[in-house]
Symmetry: C2
Subunit: 165 residues, 2 copies
């Protein structure tokens, strides 16, 4: 597994904000309750989303968070990048370059050649990035709403949707 719960919780946060926050801000407490997630931890995660300009906050009573943009304009590559800090599939591949732009690859810096593994990880990173970019928050909100027809509603016990392949 390579993404942490930051990505999981953060995406859920956005989905819930999108679903419940049409007109007024959504408090973390509500989300923590409905999603059954630790509030204090969510606070730290939503800070990442705010820093990335994906949500806006209102302080004080009846405060909370709203999406900074329309859900159709929020792509998941932005979101995951904000939450995880990087989409690089390998340590030696995170974007810390030398001043001249050369990529530092610790195990080949003596020869200075482009390593074959770099080719591979580049392809992976591009693939992940493209995949995430092709999913918008709006799509996930819509998917979620199909699963739970109305906000707060819950499936009747025993009536479980068969896993959609």
């Amino acid at each position: 597994m390579f993404f942490t719960t930051k990505a999981e919780y953060g995406v859920r946060l956005l989905i819930e904000i999108g679903r419940q926050g049409q007109d007024q801000p959504v408090s973390l407490k509500v989300i923590a309750d409905t999603e059954n997630l630790p509030l204090a931890y969510l606070e730290r995660i939503v800070a990442l989303l705010k820093r990335a300009g994906l949500v806006q906050s209102t302080r004080g009573a009846h405060g909370g968070y709203v999406l900074a943009r329309k859900p159709t304009d929020i792509r998941m590559d932005e979101v995951v990048l904000a939450l995880e800090g990087s989409l690089a599939p390998m340590e030696c591949f995170v974007d810390d370059r030398a001043d001249d732009g050369r990529v530092l690859c610790s195990h080949h810096d003596d020869s200075g050649r482009g390593c074959a593994t770099k080719l591979l990880w580049t392809r992976v990173q591009v693939g992940v990035s493209n995949t995430l970019a092709q999913t918008s928050l709006a799509e996930l909100i819509e998917f979620q709403s199909r699963q739970l027809p109305r906000a707060g509603e819950r499936a009747a016990p025993g009536e479980r949707t068969p896993a959609p392949a």
Copy 2:
């Protein structure tokens, strides 16, 4: 970053075995020296590759490892899967299912519905898997050989290939 050095070192292992081991087995010592990697650690990594049937070993003096198949028949999704244990992008997504095949998702097991995040991580996993599957060991060996024209040879000091975009 989400792959560990196991994947990095393991892929390099295979490349070196493929490059140097046309006729005779390649010892880990040689690889550890040429790639400047810790021998004892490589031992544990190559064990993963052997268990997955990607390499074969010969014990004793002049022993070492050879590829179990032609490099063209070794796809990187197999390799990374063997090394990392899983390609699942999320913990709640690793393939440990209930007996009936239901996927366990810890945060939604009370409602039992497919979560929207699952949709997202599924796409990512398929994307990564496809990307890796489209790269064969042969391609990486060839790439590496272009960088270092002959085995053991090294670029003249100062003559550095410009990073191939």
